[in-house]
Amino acid sequence: MLSVVPDTTSKINFTDDNTRFDKAGIQFVMNPHDEFGLTKAMQIKESTGAELHVVHVGPQAFEPVMRKVLAIGADKAFRIDMEPADSYTTAVQLAAFLKDKDYDLIIAGKESLDYNGNAVHGLVAAMTGLRFVNAVMGLDFEGDKVLVTREIEGGKETLETRLPLLIGGQKGLVKEEELRIPNMRGIMMARKKPLEVIPPVEATQAVEFLRFEKPPVKSAVKLVDKDNLDELIDLLHNEAKVI
């Protein structure tokens, strides 16, 4: 399950009287959390011969990102043709898509770096009843068992479960240097791979975005001379009241 988001360096602006995200000039990329999941999926595909599909809820404009995933090595892509309006309606689409499939492992990113909902995959789990682990930083197979490591406050927890399984993946799932980029051959092959467009199912929004605003700007920094750290301690103590 793939999400497409503004490049992390993007300046975020709004249009239509601050009611809509302004896509002008924004470069859209694969959600960074999803890159870890995709690479893990590729490794599993290579070691077991599994078939790898990718599904995305979004407009046609994002197809280049899906082609990129095919170029990296996915076998088939599905695009559910709608502009996602909220986590709930997006999850309804994905749950409906999964209904007549029987995937062993479904990988999402723990959070999409646009609306930061941290919601879709968990909602899909509730709607489908699939076993689900969030914030996954490790995944290993031991016979029929799946050992899943998730991040917890101040550490990590290893869980034992089985397939089929849905996970919200993140950093740690694979190493940074293992992340894949497409090569020329992959790009050529991707042109011939199937990208199926699916019409959305009926769904009513649970949440509407009414308007957006920028966070308040910080006032100018107070610089303290490095030879006058007493002043710094005084500011932290008496002004900020944090020590």
Partner: protein
């Protein structure tokens, strides 16, 4: 309005997140509204009455001793049925973020995360949440009857509001199969350290520190302040520090009262994870470092000179206060 909160605890004592949720819930419930907290093995309910919780439902069932998201979501769902809660609140913690969407899915309720304000409107509920990695704040309207909200850490704060509360044993009906489906086999936590999540002060360092061997002074500074330690992404990627310390857009989101950034340039992806901090102090050798634009206090200087001096000054300060 009636509110249910998912109250997490450390060794039986409600943690800071639970108290912040209680504070928020009390304000949201309004006069005459009931705030109920569901805890699993919670031992000091009075710590929640102090923040406005009227009723504590405590699950005293060994099967729930270690967190199981599905089982907890089912228990919360049953607590919603019992209390008639309109809104359920969970915290921006590993467990809160895991159980939240499951519960919303079970209830057919809207799920709104990163909430930073009380509603401006109660029917329909409209409130503010962070979006685009802290680069924007969105006002959203909830169109479902019930809602599950996940409150952004440190966004509301702790507000004492003592009420007379009561505690009741609560025995949710959850099949053993749910617990067998996903079982915890091992928990690894850094011991004796302040966890990042609940830290009031975070001391964070970046590539400017040159190598892992130089973290002694960072840990010492954290020690003096009772702070947690964190780092920038490349520092974790190079293995100088554990990944659990990586903060930023692709790491942890933190919002302490004081965030101290040492030898970190202040890249946009780093700022996205830390700029909700109440106060930011930047120590950097380069006066042009972008982080100074996002800082409240700054010292231009070599960390290897400034940090040891700061430690000495703070030790003296702490001895007097």
């Amino acid at each position: 309005m009636n509110i249910l909160i998912f109250a997490e605890h450390n060794q039986g004592k409600p943690n800071k997140t639970a108290k912040e949720l209680a504070s928020y819930a009390r304000a949201l419930a309004g006069e005459g509204g009931t705030v109920t907290a569901l805890g699993f093995g919670l031992q000091s309910p009075e710590d929640l009455y102090a923040y406005g919780v009227n009723q504590v439902l405590n699950v005293d069932d060994a099967r729930f001793d270690s967190f199981n998201a599905k089982a907890y979501a089912l228990a919360l769902q049953q607590a919603v049925e019992k209390t008639g809660a309109d809104v359920v609140l969970a915290g921006q913690t590993a467990d809160g973020q895991y159980v939240g969407p499951l519960l919303a899915g079970l209830l057919g309720a809207a799920y709104v995360t990163q909430v930073v304000s009380l509603p401006e409107n109660s029917k329909p509920l409209a409130l503010k949440r962070k979006s685009f990695s802290n680069k924007a704040i969105a006002t959203v309207q909830i169109d479902t009857e019930k809602a599950v909200l996940n409150l952004a850490k440190n966004s509301y704060g702790l507000h004492e509001n003592p009420v007379g509360g009561s505690v009741e044993n609560f025995a949710p009906q959850v099949d053993d199969a749910v617990f067998d489906d996903i079982r915890s086999v091992r928990v690894e936590k850094a011991t004796g350290k302040v966890p990042l999540a609940d830290a009031e002060i975070i001391v964070s360092a970046g590539r400017g520190l040159k190598g892992p061997e130089n973290w002694g002074m960072i840990e010492e500074l954290a020690d003096v302040l009772g702070a947690a330690t964190a780092c920038s992404k490349p520092v974790a990627d190079m293995g100088w520090r554990p990944h659990t310390e990586h903060v930023g857009q692709t790491g942890k989101q933190v919002a302490p009262n004081l965030y101290i950034a040492i030898g970190i340039s202040g890249a946009i992806q780093h700022l996205a994870g830390v700029n909700s901090s109440k106060n930011i102090l930047v120590i950097n050798i380069d006066p042009e470092a972008p982080f100074f634009k996002a800082a409240d206090y700054g010292v231009v200087g070599d960390a290897f000179e400034v940090v040891p001096k700061l430690i000495e000054k703070l030790k003296a300060f702490k001895a007097e206060h």
